[in-house]
Amino acid sequence: MMERARLVAIVRVAALVAIAAVLQTLVISQVTILGISVDLFLIFTVIVALSWGPLGGAVFGFVAGMAADIAYFGPLGMRAFVYVVTGYSLGLLAGRFGARSLWMVLFYTLGPPLSPR
């Protein structure tokens, strides 16, 4: 049973990363608004961290960061590091303060994308 749950989680992570990679590469990165492009990998990391907690956020952040480094031709490990810290921190914050408040959700969602920039 535990093995099956772990497998489902891995498949989910892989599917999410694949969807993020395809959407980001195909559409999102091509369209900029006022010179800013949406980072779907980071958004998915935030969502996963809020849903699965710090461990899930950190693991997904690592995988998504690696995918983003490959997709953006950046130094391998750069985004992985940032997203791991982001996913873990947000998972901890959501676990401690919850995500019921609209302001908290906005803070979780807008904070990470803005802070690296």
């Binding site: 710090p54 690592f62 960061g65 391998l76 490990g77 750069m78 791991v84």
Partner: protein
């Protein structure tokens, strides 16, 4: 949460951080042909067709956004340019008016410098601020008065731009008939009440130049036996105690004779175009410099002019 689970979670987190930093270090230190770079290039080559396809798919949206942006900025720019155009059109009109005024004043200065006026004569430039409303009278109101040294019967000359740089276009306008502190009325030489002693250059024939109800300028009292040609210049003779001698009046345009009249019928075309007169110059002639050296007498105010 149990301490074991918490420690396990922290351990995973630290492991991921170390893995990220290790990858980052390798990525920076490894040669271009290293295994990490190879893996990245392999995944990159898988994604690059997707990126090319995405670029083609997203192009209309990208262009659409740029199109909206450019239309918006073009609209704003057009509004700004229209405002600038309005301002500049007003400026052009103002500058053209100034340029024309400049030309007229230059013509007046030329008239002052080239004319022969009595010694000690001074000049006061004034603007025309009103004109006689009907053809029965011919006068203009100017914006200078007794405060500026103007007096009744002072001669007035002027220049109009219609005929360019020649002597034509500059000449006698009339005389002041009414004056108050800040304005004065100038009776034009085309007024029926006006009479100017003149002479025709070339023949030396003398007569009286006066206006008519038709607005024409006529020269009377020229003997029939004197030869007078057309295109001759008529100037003031200096007789009559009002006007200094040799101020140009106009050109003889027609000469006629009648058997029952002992004088010629001469029509004179005035040098000054009174229809477009905007500035004039009042001659402040010292009284003793006028022909005869006596104070001029006040003439009747033209109909419609106020004292």
């Amino acid at each position: 949460m149990s301490p074991v689970k918490s420690a396990w979670r922290r351990g995973i987190f630290v492991l991921l951080i170390i893995a990220s930093l290790a990858l980052l270090t390798v990525s920076f230190r490894e040669a271009e042909a290293g295994p990490v770079h190879d893996v990245r290039h392999a995944f990159g080559s898988l994604l690059s067709p997707l990126q090319e396809f995405g670029a083609r798919v997203a192009e209309p949206f990208q262009d659409g956004y740029e199109w909206f942006k450019s239309v918006w900025s073009a609209k704003k720019k057009a509004e700004q340019l229209e405002e600038q155009l309005d301002v500049l059109q007003g400026e052009v009109v103002r500058l053209e008016e100034q340029a024309e005024e400049n030309e007229r004043l230059k013509a007046l200065l030329k008239l002052r410098d080239e004319g022969t006026y009595p010694e000690g004569a001074e000049f006061e430039v004034a603007q025309v601020i009103g004109k006689s409303p009907s053809q029965w009278e011919a006068w203009v109101r100017i914006n200078k008065g007794s405060d500026d040294g103007l007096r009744v019967n002072q001669p007035v000359v002027g220049a109009t731009p219609t005929v360019g740089e020649s002597a034509v276009g500059k000449g006698l306008v009339g005389k002041i008939v009414t004056v108050d502190a800040s304005t004065a009325v100038v009776q034009l030489i085309t007024d029926t009440q006006s009479a100017v002693a003149g002479k025709i250059q070339g023949s030396r024939a003398e007569g009286i130049v006066h206006g008519s109800l038709q607005g024409r300028l006529l020269m009377d009292y020229v003997d029939r036996d004197l030869a007078v040609d057309t295109k001759r210049v008529v100037v003031t003779s200096g007789y009559g105690e009002l006007y200094p001698a040799d101020i140009p009046i106009g050109l003889v345009v027609s000469v006629g004779e009648e058997t029952i009249n002992m004088f010629k019928n001469i029509e004179v075309q005035p040098f000054v175009d009174f229809r477009v007169l905007e500035e004039v110059m009042v001659l402040l002639v010292p009284e003793n410099a006028l022909p005869g050296g006596t104070t001029a007498t006040t003439l009747a105010t033209p109909a419609g002019a106020t004292q």
